[in-house]
Structures are given as structure tokens and as C-alpha cells.
């Protein structure tokens, strides 16, 4: 046995290379995971500054800071960058870092392709951002890029926007294939499917969703490209096509996409809450099946984004009930998280604070989603700030708090040092207050009829909008504190033990902190 181990070490003598080329040429899942995380944080700050422009313009009624054309480009690129550049790569980064450690794999299944997935992202987003400086401006049609706004009436830079989406899509598909192959093929002996940590389970299902829907998005933007440059009439009724068809194809991608952004957060929170409750997760099996049920249902609800567009009554009813059905498995999850905490020995370190806030605030976002799911009510809410409030409640305290919770939970494993708990708690409370101040009033102005994506508004919405803007600035500025906390943690701090958390379980805590460059070259035995 020892001979075998020595042999392994000889094979993997190559540690990290020196200099910049380490990162450019790497095949190491930890290097690639770190690059994903840094890239997504850079995009988060960039997309966040665009949100700051939007909130600054909406601080008061009337047009003061930017032109409406530029405002449109800000709302569009803010959405695109946050969805494709910040949230998705952050979860892929966490997957890269943690999945091989959690299942006892030596690396990702296809390490070179892994690096290809990452390096397509700077290409895609460089191209997307360059459109802002092109003649006619960048994409200005909303992140959902409905035809004909994005075809007939789009600026010329839309061509490059389309190709940027293609590149980001190729990156996502390759990343997802890699994750599926890793999870299904590289588990350590004894790590059966139903022993896998929930983060691995939710990512397995997310990866399936990605492979199923990213090609459909590629098809949608390809049809746009053909309509714009080659005279086809997919989205033009004059030639027998239909602009509403664009919405169907887009949302067939778009609805599973929202679960792609939230399922990995479900998984991470399902590991963090038991760790800080010092109790095993309540209802592991039901969590797995609930995730599967959510993913399955996500393919049959897309038209709830299109209730007002004029679909047949049977369609409205079908999509309304199917959407409400998703509340059942989601309710199972919330119940399990609460039951895990029930009678646990709870402590509230930063990962736990973000996770508890996740459960409460995501549930609020889920309930406003149920309100929107009712077709007759949606006729009132559609395209108002109520929708903006809803999806920011599931994405900010949902996806992004999930990412923060994960970052604090695993930072000791990544850096070998404990982060500054006081600063981290400050980061949490500032984010929590800022985020609620920013988005909660949007429910009220939305119900009162304030339309989204418009740079000006009725005087009667002035007070709530000012509160929103103050909250948004607070939330935005607080993220610079997060940057400082992470850098401080990388540079030093109290030494982290292999398992710095009293209640944390899993293979990732059996390797030293910081995790060595190569881990599990010989698979561990899982009992």
C-alpha cells in the first residue's frame, strides 16, 4: 500500500507553478475555483456599480443624472452581469473548490476543460462590456432581451451581445458536464449517492438543468442573429413568425435558470445550518427528492412570466397551477431547515447568520412569487416594481447570501486562517439592513403601480424610492468591507484547524487547512 502511495506522490509532484502562468495554464480545481470566485466578485462589484447608477437616478423623481438611453443600458447590463457573470460563476467556483473535496476526488473529472470553461468567461464578459462603448451604445432592451426590441429596434452592438451569450453558454455547458462527470464518476469508495453532501446533490441537479437549457438559450439568440442579419422571420409576424415565440423560447431557458441560481445555495445552506445547529440535517432524503421535484417542475412553468402577453386561458391555468405546485417541495425544504434548527445548540457565526437570513428572506421572496403566480393577480403586478422586489428577494438574500454564507464557511479551508468574525458580522448586519431597506419598499410602490425599467416616476413614489436608494447605497458600500475581510483573511489571522467548526462534518474537513494543492490522490474510504 505504501508503495502505491509513494507512486501517487511521484505522479503529482507538480505543485503550483510560479507567476502569472500558474493561473493561465492551470488544471487544478482549487486554482480554477479561486479564479471563478474572484472573477464573479469583480463582476458583482461591476454589476453593483451599475445598480448604484440606477438607484442614484431613481433617488428623486425627474431626470437628473443619466439619459434614459443610458439608464436602459444600465438596467440591462446590471441584470446580465449579475445573472451570468456574478451568481452563476460564483457557484461554479464553489463547486470547483468544494465538490472534489466533498466526495474525495483527486480533481475535477476533466481538468483541462475545466480551465477552458473559466477562461471563456473573461472573453464573454469583455465582449459584453465592450458593447457599452460601441456606436449606438450597449444592449438596452432589458436582460430578458425580448424581440423585437432586441432585433428590429436594437443597436448594432446586439450582434456582439449575442456572441457574448454564446461564449458564456459554452462555458456553462462545459462546466456542467464536468460537474456531472465528477460527481457520478469520481466519488470515493463508499460515498454512495445518498451519502453525498447536499451541496453536491443540488449541484448535480443544477448541472443537469444547465445542460438542458443553456443550448435552448443559444438557439434563441441564434434565431435573433438570423433575424437581424440574414432576413429570417422567426420573431416577425409579417413573415409568419411570432415575437411571442421569442418569449416562450427565452423563458423555457429562463425559468430553469432561476433554479440554477438558487439550488446550489439551497445545498450550501443545507450543510451550514446543521453545522451551526450541531444536529444532523432534518430530512436528508426529502431534501434530495424536493430538489429533484423543483428541477423537474421548473420545465413546466415558464409561461407564468408571460401571463399578460395573450396566451389561451387553458395555458394560463396550467402554468398558474404548475407554478404553485413548486411551493410544495420548496416548503418541504424550509420546513426541514427550521426543523434542523429546532432544539439545536445554535451559535451565530457569520455563515449561520447569512443562512438564517437566507431562510427567512428567501421565504418572503417565495411568497411574493406565489402572489405573482396567480394569473389574474399578475395582470396587476406585471412589469411593476413588485416583480423587481420579488426576484431581488430571492436573488440577493437567496443566491447571494448563500454565496456569502459559503464563503465564510469555507474561507478557513481555502486560506488556512480564520476571518475576522466581528467584521464579518458587521458585513452581515449592514447587508441585511441595507438589502431590506432597498427592496422591501419596492413591494409597496410596485403594488401601487410603479413600472419597472423607467428612469422617472410619479411624485407619489418619491419617499419610498429615496429609502430604496439609501438602502441600496448602504448594501453596495458594505460589499467593499467584504472584499477587505477576504483579503485580510488571505494575508493572515488566527490559524484555522483542519475542522474549525465544532459541528461541521464531511470529507473537506479531514484535509488540513489550507487544503494542500493536491488532495485525495488516493481516494479515502467512506464508511
Amino acid at each position: 500500500m505504501s508503495a502505491v502511495i509513494d507512486h501517487h506522490h511521484a505522479d503529482h509532484a507538480h505543485g503550483p507553478a510560479k507567476g502569472l502562468m500558474r493561473w493561465v495554464l492551470t488544471t487544478n480545481h482549487k486554482d480554477i475555483g479561486s479564479m471563478y470566485l474572484w472573477f464573479s466578485f469583480a463582476m458583482f462589484l461591476l454589476g453593483g456599480s451599475m445598480a448604484m447608477v440606477i438607484r442614484a437616478e431613481l433617488f428623486q423623481p425627474g431626470l437628473q443624472l443619466v439619459q434614459p438611453e443610458f439608464f436602459n443600458q444600465m438596467t440591462t447590463t446590471h441584470g446580465l452581469i449579475m445573472v451570468f457573470g456574478a451568481v452563476m460563476p460564483a457557484f461554479v467556483g464553489l463547486a470547483n473548490w468544494m465538490i472534489p473535496l466533498m466526495i474525495g476526488a483527486p480533481d475535477m473529472a476533466l481538468p483541462r476543460m475545466n480551465n477552458f470553461s473559466f477562461w471563456l468567461l473573461p472573453a464573454a464578459f469583455g465582449l459584453l462590456l465592450s458593447t457599452l462603448f460601441m456606436e449606438g451604445g450597449g444592449p438596452n432592451f432589458g436582460w430578458t432581451f425580448y424581440a423585437p426590441l432586441s432585433t428590429t429596434y436594437a443597436p448594432p452592438s446586439v450582434t456582439f451581445f449575442i456572441f457574448a451569450i454564446h461564449l458564456a453558454g459554452i462555458s456553462s455547458i462545459m462546466g456542467a458536464i464536468n460537474i456531472i462527470a465528477t460527481v457520478l464518476n469520481l466519488r470515493a469508495p463508499g460515498m454512495t449517492l445518498m451519502k453525498m453532501p447536499l451541496f453536491v446533490w443540488t449541484w448535480l441537479i443544477t448541472a443537469f438543468l444547465l445542460i438542458a437549457v443553456m443550448p435552448v438559450l443559444a438557439g434563441a439568440v441564434t434565431m435573433m442573429l438570423m433575424d437581424i442579419h440574414f432576413g429570417t422571420s422567426f420573431f416577425n409576424a409579417a413573415g409568419g413568425g411570432d415575437p411571442v415565440m421569442f418569449q416562450h423560447i427565452f423563458w423555457f431557458f429562463g425559468h430553469p435558470e432561476v433554479y440554477i441560481m438558487i439550488l446550489p445555495a439551497f445545498g450550501a445552506v443545507s450543510m451550514i445550518i446543521p453545522a451551526f445547529s450541531r444536529k444532523p440535517l432534518f430530512g436528508y432524503t426529502s431534501m434530495v427528492y424536493a430538489t429533484g421535484a423543483i428541477a423537474f417542475l421548473s420545465f413546466a412553468v415558464w409561461a407564468h412570466h408571460m401571463f399578460t402577453v395573450g396566451i389561451p386561458l387553458t395555458g394560463e391555468l396550467f402554468f398558474m397551477y404548475a407554478t404553485m405546485l413548486i411551493a410544495v417541495p420548496t416548503g418541504v425544504k424550509v420546513f426541514n431547515w427550521v426543523s434542523t434548527m429546532f432544539r439545536g445548540s445554535l451559535t451565530f457565526e457569520a455563515p449561520m447568520l447569512f443562512s438564517v437570513a437566507f431562510v427567512i428572506l428567501f421565504t418572503i421572496g417565495g411568497f411574493s412569487g406565489l402572489m405573482l403566480a396567480m394569473a389574474p393577480a399578475d395582470f396587476q403586478y406585471h412589469d411593476t416594481y413588485f416583480v423587481v422586489a420579488h426576484f431581488h428577494y430571492v436573488l440577493v438574500p437567496g443566491a447571494i447570501f448563500g454565496i456569502f454564507a459559503s464563503a465564510y464557511y469555507w474561507l478557513p479551508k481555502w486560506t488556512g486562517f480564520m476571518y475576522d468574525e466581528v467584521l464579518a458580522k458587521t458585513h452581515f448586519w449592514m447587508s441585511f439592513v441595507g438589502m431590506n431597506l432597498a427592496f422591501f419598499p419596492m413591494h409597496f410602490v410596485g403594488l401601487a403601480g410603479m413600472p419597472r425599467r423607467i428612469p422617472d416616476y410619479n411624485m407619489m413614489f418619491a419617499n419610498f424610492n429615496m429609502v430604496s436608494s439609501v438602502g441600496a447605497f448602504m448594501f453596495g458600500a458594505t460589499q467593499l468591507l467584504f472584499l477587505y475581510i477576504v483579503i485580510k483573511c488571505i494575508r493572515g489571522g488566527p490559524k484555522a484547524a483542519a475542522n474549525p467548526w465544532e459541528g461541521a462534518e464531511g470529507l473537506e474537513w479531514t484535509v488540513p487547512s489550507p487544503a494542500p494543492y493536491h488532495t485525495f490522490t488516493t481516494p479515502p474510504e467512506v464508511k
Binding site: T27, A109, R112, L184, V213, G219, A238, G239, G240
Partner: protein, 299 residues
């Protein structure tokens, strides 16, 4: 190596590689060139430097593909890949083909949506009487020869009969799926001559298919007025058959490279995933064609 207990085999983690970054750069240059060219052409000027940027990008991609696959072939022939690695490749290829299926699903979905729902509504069917007010004269039939606004989108005069070239092409493509399977059996039985000949025949059939498809396109453009801009019939027809044709061309290239490798003596009866991946891909384009033949040409 064979005496190893599979659970203790070493999973090969490759050292640093330049191909991913070369590939990203190649794709970026390609799409930048293509976008520049399309924008210039739609603005009425010629392609400008777009053509050349596009060409440069494609060359970089070709260089990356050649280098990357060379690495993989060399590593495989050095025996670095375990049975577990082989499973990773199989999963990778399988899920890649699934993603391709979903890409075609978007275009098939568009075709079905137009034919079953949007088209009839545009013709005034259902409760959406207001759509009829746009073009009151418009009647929806499939194939759609008369578009709602013939001034902007003149329709085709005729569509392609399925029982001539498309039927021949169906027979050719299905035969090629059979011949590639014969080649696989020959490979497993270590009959190298039969393997080479069946694979060669597959590539020849693929080239005949592509030639006939090009002839069909020329016929459609020159004689039938069936073009990309002849309304939704032409759009769905050319996008589905065009993307399929592009995949056949890629599949032909893959099979040709496998053929060259066979002639160089690569692959053993037990270890030939490169061949199998090409065959899987080939069966996939075949299945898509059967869907096309039924839903685009016949029904």
C-alpha cells in the same frame, strides 16, 4: 496496470496546458470577426477586416483542436488513462450530445409552435380575433407559400418534395449509421482491413449526403424561391437543415480523422473510445435527420 484493483488506479490529472487559453482566445477572435463582418454587411458595406479576423480566429481554433486532441491521443497511447478516466470521457461525450439535442429542440420547438399555435392564430383562429386585424387577407396553411406581408417577405413558389432527394438522403444517412456499426464490429473483432473499408464507406456516404444537400439548397434558392428570407417556412427549413448539415460536416471531419488514426494503427479491440465517440455523434446526427425528414419534409 491491468493487475491493479480498479479502485486503486490513479486518476490522471494532466499537468498545465496552454490549450484552454488558446481556445478561449480563438473563440473570442472568431466571434469578434464574425460580428464585425455581419454588422458591416448589414450596414451595407463589405465585410471590412471582419473576414480576416474571423479567418484568424478559426485558424486559432483549428490549431487548438489539433494540439489538444494530439495531447489526448498521445496520453491515451502512453497508457495514462485508467478505466475510470474512460468513464469520464464517456459521460462527457454523452452529456455533450444531450446538450446538442437540446439545441435542436429549440428549433424544433419553434417549428411546432408556429405550425400548431402561432400560425393558426395569425390566420384568425381561436379567440384572438385581434391578430386577424393585422392582415385580414392572410390564411394560414402549411407549407406557408403566402406570407402575411408578401411585400416584405415574398414566399416560396414551391417547397421541396420529400420523396426525391430527401428520401435518397435519408437512405444514405441511415446506411452510413449501419456501416459505421459494421466498422465498430470489425474493430472489436480485430479485423483491421474490414474496419478501414467500412469506415471509408461511411465517410464516402457522408460526403454524398453533403453534396446532395448542397444541390438541394441551390435548387431551392434558384428555382423555388425558397430562401432564408422567404418567411417562416424558409427560416425554419434552412435553420433546421442547415444546422443539421453543419453537424454532418463536423461529423464527417471527425470520422475522417478517426479513419486516418485507424490507418495509422491506432485503437485496440478493447480500447477505442475515440472511435466510439465519433460513432455516437454520427448516430446522433442520423437521429436528428430522421426527425427532420418527418417534421420538416413529410408532415
Amino acid at each position: 496496470m491491468a493487475s491493479h484493483d480498479p479502485s486503486h488506479e490513479i486518476y490522471y490529472v494532466p499537468p498545465q496546458s496552454k490549450w484552454p487559453i488558446v481556445g478561449s482566445l480563438g473563440l473570442l477572435v472568431t466571434v469578434f470577426g464574425a460580428g464585425t463582418m455581419m454588422n458591416n454587411m448589414s450596414a451595407g458595406s463589405d465585410g471590412g477586416i471582419g473576414h480576416w479576423v474571423l479567418l484568424a480566429g478559426l485558424l486559432i481554433i483549428a490549431y487548438m483542436m489539433f494540439g489538444w486532441f494530439s495531447n489526448v491521443v498521445t496520453e491515451s497511447r502512453q497508457g495514462l488513462y485508467s478505466a475510470q478516466m474512460d468513464r469520464s470521457f464517456r459521460m462527457g461525450m454523452g452529456w455533450f450530445i444531450f446538450s446538442e439535442v437540446m439545441f435542436f429542440a429549440a428549433f424544433f420547438g419553434a417549428l411546432f409552435y408556429v405550425r400548431m399555435l402561432a400560425g393558426p392564430w395569425l390566420g384568425g383562429e381561436g379567440h384572438k380575433a385581434q391578430t386577424e386585424m393585422l392582415w385580414p387577407e392572410f390564411e394560414f396553411v402549411w407549407p406557408l407559400l403566402q406570407n402575411p406581408d408578401p411585400a416584405i417577405f415574398p414566399g416560396p413558389t414551391e417547397t421541396i418534395s420529400p420523396w426525391q432527394l430527401p428520401l435518397i438522403n435519408t437512405i444514405i444517412l441511415i446506411s452510413s449509421s449501419v456501416t459505421v456499426t459494421f466498422a465498430h464490429h470489425a474493430l472489436r473483432a480485430a479485423k483491421r482491413t474490414a474496419l478501414t473499408l467500412w469506415l471509408l464507406l461511411t465517410v464516402v456516404l457522408a460526403l454524398i449526403f453533403l453534396t446532395l444537400q448542397i444541390m438541394e439548397y441551390i435548387h431551392a434558392y434558384n428555382d423555388l424561391g425558397l430562401t432564408l428570407d422567404s418567411g417562416i417556412y424558409g427560416a425554419t427549413f434552412f435553420m433546421l437543415t442547415g444546422f443539421h448539415g453543419f453537424h454532418v460536416a463536423m461529423g464527417t471531419l471527425i470520422l475522417s480523422i478517426i479513419l486516418i488514426r485507424v490507418m495509422k494503427g491506432h485503437f485496440t479491440p478493447d480500447n477505442h473510445f475515440g472511435f466510439e465517440a465519433a460513432a455516437w455523434y454520427w448516430h446522433f446526427v442520423d437521429v436528428v435527420w430522421v426527425g427532420l425528414f418527418i417534421f420538416v419534409y413529410v408532415v
